[in-house]
């Protein structure tokens, strides 16, 4: 969706370390002691904003379908949830590794995170293809919208992890300077936390 595509550009603000642009027509580059703090706040405000989007869908799910639930594959749901939670752990290990200057471990855990992210998206795609309910009934409307919007965030997260991996391979990022890694990993955790709310709402509550 347009929302998602443009949101990723928005995130890239925070994801990429940047120099202060000089203004058109002159002006110098300034030292900016507040830069790390501003990047952090900007990223967190972005999460606050996104939370409202996901919250609106969570509310819509119960408003539309109450606690009624269509038939979903519980083992698959549990499986992809486990995969996503483990991917947060590997993302964390990746960030810690670059903070310690260990490029090998950083790239290894990053790749593992990407693989797990793709596995999660694949699991959702499989659930979609085998679903026994349609998108034109209340539960189905909520299910496909929520998993779809969440999966689009997972896929864009994978794309950004891939970009960080590419930059990491080419020698970017260091123990001192790895804001790009930190931002994308934080985004990954955020997408994970959203699923922690969506999973029970779609798979566990009701009957």
């Amino acid at each position: 969706m347009a929302v998602v595509a443009s949101r990723e550009q928005a995130l890239a603000v925070a994801a990429v370390p940047r120099v202060v642009p000089s203004h058109n027509g002159g002006g110098g580059h300034h030292d900016e002691p507040q830069r790390p703090a501003m990047n952090q706040l900007g990223l967190w405000l972005f999460f606050v904003s996104e939370s409202f989007l996901f919250a609106s869908l969570l509310v819509a799910r119960f408003y539309l379908a109450g606690t009624s639930r269509g038939h979903v594959d519980q083992m698959l749901g549990l499986g992809i949830t486990a995969v996503l939670l483990v991917s947060s752990l590997t993302a964390y290990l990746s960030e810690v590794s670059i903070a310690q200057g260990n490029r090998g471990a950083f790239l290894f855990y990053l790749l593992l995170t990407i693989v797990l992210g793709v596995a999660f998206a694949g699991g959702v795609a499989f659930e979609w293809s085998t679903a026994e309910f349609s998108r034109s009934e209340p539960y189905g409307t909520a299910f496909f919208t929520m998993t779809g919007l969440h999966a689009s965030h997972v896929i864009s997260g994978v794309a950004m992890l891939g970009l960080v991996y590419y930059l990491g391979l080419r020698g970017h990022f260091s123990a001192k300077d790895h804001w790009g890694v930190e931002a994308v990993v934080k985004y990954w955790h955020f997408v994970d936390v959203v699923w922690v709310f969506f999973y029970p709402a779609l798979y566990l509550i009701g009957a």
Partner: protein, 631 residues
């Protein structure tokens, strides 16, 4: 401009046009890619190749990023994502206004000019509406066309209300007023502006595929079943929402971290506080409008059933989600209007702002309660009756913090030796207009009266008093107040005051009588009415035409003064805030050295008040505040 950077673009090749051309090419490529891929998949799965709405949505999903990348995101930003150096152009003068320029002052002017033009355009649509309403059976507009014109007028004016003051004056003056060189994320700032042209193109382009007739509120089930222009509207709202969210994020980060040394939260100009409050609302609630549009879009193009009652969907869900944004959005309009009104009233009353802390607390209180009142728009929608009393009470409660802001304005005017200039006239009129808007709002908050007044012209008159009367009058107060700072020229005071009086009187003569047909049941959004109301409608339309004509004086004054006006001093209003401590227009990067804040922004006539700010000049010691002591 004093700097001497080298122009590196080839001369004579109209370099400033290039970014826009690149953007259009990017958008075309993106659209072809998105829509083409959709067609291929549709053919592969045995459907017709072309489904207007589906192809359009998926095409636009790539056209919007294509436009942004072409217009400058790739050059100044995207290259960094691949580890390359960004290429920044060095352009001078007018050319910067057509590029992805990161200077907050350039972006402020881009917003301002864009939204003043949109304001005049949407005003022209209002003239068409009033022309139609001269008679109950007027052939000027066909019924369907009337609804489309009304919808277009509504949404463009809402966009103007959301982004003109915050995007225009917020961008230009918040960094100046807090003593910063720019905003926290300059490139993000440029991005928020360049998201606006697609919005305007979508809203106007929608007319080519039948427009949309569901007003700016776009309630289903109509918005799920009407002409395809609706889908353009949906995409426009999602795009505009993104711009609004990101600019809120930017302002909040900027004010948190880039205040000048000594600028504690208690010394922030009240306009900055109002932008903070509007930014909090924009950052969070806007997502709900985007979510509502996403749901309508999915219902239309993909067979979802959010709002289709026959499939178990619930149309009222839309109204809850929509108003959960759109009531707080009223404060995105109103709070910056209040902020600038208090600002100007303090400077032109030559007195300290009365009860500064209570006024700021009032604005924050409004933000806190703004998310708890939305369903007062739904008393006749069929929602559960137990919600009626709750939302009646919460709506009445929000008038308490609003009252604090109002009392701050009155307390500042009280016993003041008022200096009457055009900005002050507009600011005082905001207080008057908002009083009428607030008092008539009581009847719409109370369920028994609202049940009778809902969807009538009483509502139309009421919200024009709050939105036009408060925010648009504040926008014009702003324009006159800061015109000398932005342009370096002085506007014509006599023409300014003539514009004010015609606009103020015609506005009140248009909208005070409008409560009357509302009380007699004249429906809003409908091209006709009962014949007994024709007399008053003719009067309202005549006054509306005078209101519309008053802007011709404004346009003339602005254009003539820009070209031929006398050169403005750095501080024509003898105001204490920081933007008046630098030249008109301010230099690139605003200050020779970061200002150090000592006093309070509104200490006019206070004995021994310290200077508000001291700005070091090129190694020399401090400069005293010329407005010290005031009056």
């Amino acid at each position: 401009m004093s700097e001497t950077a080298v122009v590196q673009q080839p001369q004579g090749a109209m370099p400033a046009i290039l970014p826009v051309v690149r953007g259009i090419i990017g958008a075309a490529l993106g659209f072809a890619l998105g829509a083409g891929a959709t067609s291929l998949i549709r053919i592969a799965t045995g459907h017709d190749a072309w489904d207007l709405e589906l192809n359009f949505v998926l095409g636009y999903t790539l056209a919007a990023p294509g436009w942004l990348l072409g217009v400058g995101v790739w050059q100044f930003w995207g290259r960094e994502w691949l580890g390359w150096k960004p290429q920044e152009p060095l352009l001078h003068g007018w050319q910067r206004y057509f590029t992805f320029c990161t200077d907050h002052k350039v972006i402020g002017v881009q917003y301002l000019v864009t939204f003043v033009v949109l304001f005049l355009l949407a005003g022209a649509f209002a003239m068409l509406i009033r022309l139609q309403l001269l008679s109950p059976e007027n052939p000027v507009l066909a019924d369907g066309t009337y609804n489309r014109v009304m919808s277009l007028h509504g949404i463009i004016m809402i966009a103007v209300a959301v982004a003109s003051v915050v995007g225009g004056f917020g961008n230009y003056f918040v960094p100046l007023m807090i003593g910063a060189r720019d905003v926290a994320f300059p490139r993000l700032n440029a991005l928020t502006f360049w998201l606006i042209p697609p919005v305007a193109v979508l809203l106007l382009g929608a007319q080519a595929v039948g427009g949309w007739d569901s007003g700016w509120t776009a309630y289903p089930p109509l918005s799920v079943r009407n002409a395809s222009g609706q889908i353009f509207f949906n995409m426009a709202i999602i795009t505009f929402g993104l711009s609004s969210i990101l600019s809120g994020l930017n302002f909040l980060t900027t004010v948190t971290y880039l205040r000048a040394p000594g600028m504690s939260w208690g010394k922030l100009p009240v306009f900055v506080w109002s932008v903070i409050c509007a930014s909090i609302i924009a950052l969070t609630f806007t997502q709900f409008f985007a979510a509502a549009m996403l749901m309508v879009t999915l219902d239309r193009i993909a067979g979802f059933s959010f709002f289709s009652a026959s499939d178990g969907g619930k149309p009222i869900l839309y109204q809850h989600i929509f108003w959960f944004y759109s009531h707080p959005a009223v404060y995105i309009f109103a709070l910056p209007g209040f902020g600038i009104t208090l600002e100007i009233i303090a400077h032109f009353s030559r007195k300290p702002l009365f009860a500064y802390r209570w006024a700021v607390g009032g604005m924050l209180g409004i933000v806190a309660i703004s998310g708890l009142v939305w369903a007062h728009h739904m008393f006749v929608s069929g929602m559960s009756p137990w919600m009626h009393g709750m939302f009646l009470v919460s709506t009445e409660i929000i008038s308490i913090p609003t009252g604090l802001v109002f009392l701050s304005a009155l307390g500042t005017i009280w016993m003041a030796k008022i200096w009457i200039r055009t900005p002050m006239l507009f600011a005082l009129s905001v207080v008057f207009n908002f009083m009428i808007g607030g008092l008539t709002g009581i009847f719409l908050a109370d369920v028994p009266t609202d049940v009778n007044l809902s969807d009538t012209y009483f509502v139309v008159a009421h919200f024009h008093y709050t939105i036009v009367g408060a925010e648009i009058f504040a926008l014009f107060a702003d324009i006159y107040y800061w015109f000398p700072k932005i342009t370096g020229k002085m506007y014509d005071e006599r023409l300014g005051q003539i514009h004010f009086w015609i606009m103020f009187i015609a506005f009140n003569m248009t909208f005070i009588p409008m409560f009357y047909p509302g009380l007699h049941g004249m429906n809003r959004r409908i091209a006709t009415y009962t014949p007994d109301l024709q007399g008053i409608n003719i009067f309202i339309s005549s006054m509306a035409f005078i209101l519309g004509a008053s802007f011709l004086i404004f346009i003339w004054n602005m254009c003539y003064s820009l070209l031929r006006g006398p050169v403005a001093a750095a501080d024509p209003w003898r105001a204490r805030t920081l933007e008046w401590r630098v030249s008109s227009p301010p230099p690139v990067e605003n200050f020779p050295a970061l200002p150090v804040i000592h006093g309070n922004p509104y200490d006019y006539g206070v004995p021994n008040a310290p200077a508000y700010a001291i700005i070091a000049i090129a190694g020399a010691s401090g400069e005293d505040d010329p407005a010290e002591g005031g009056n």
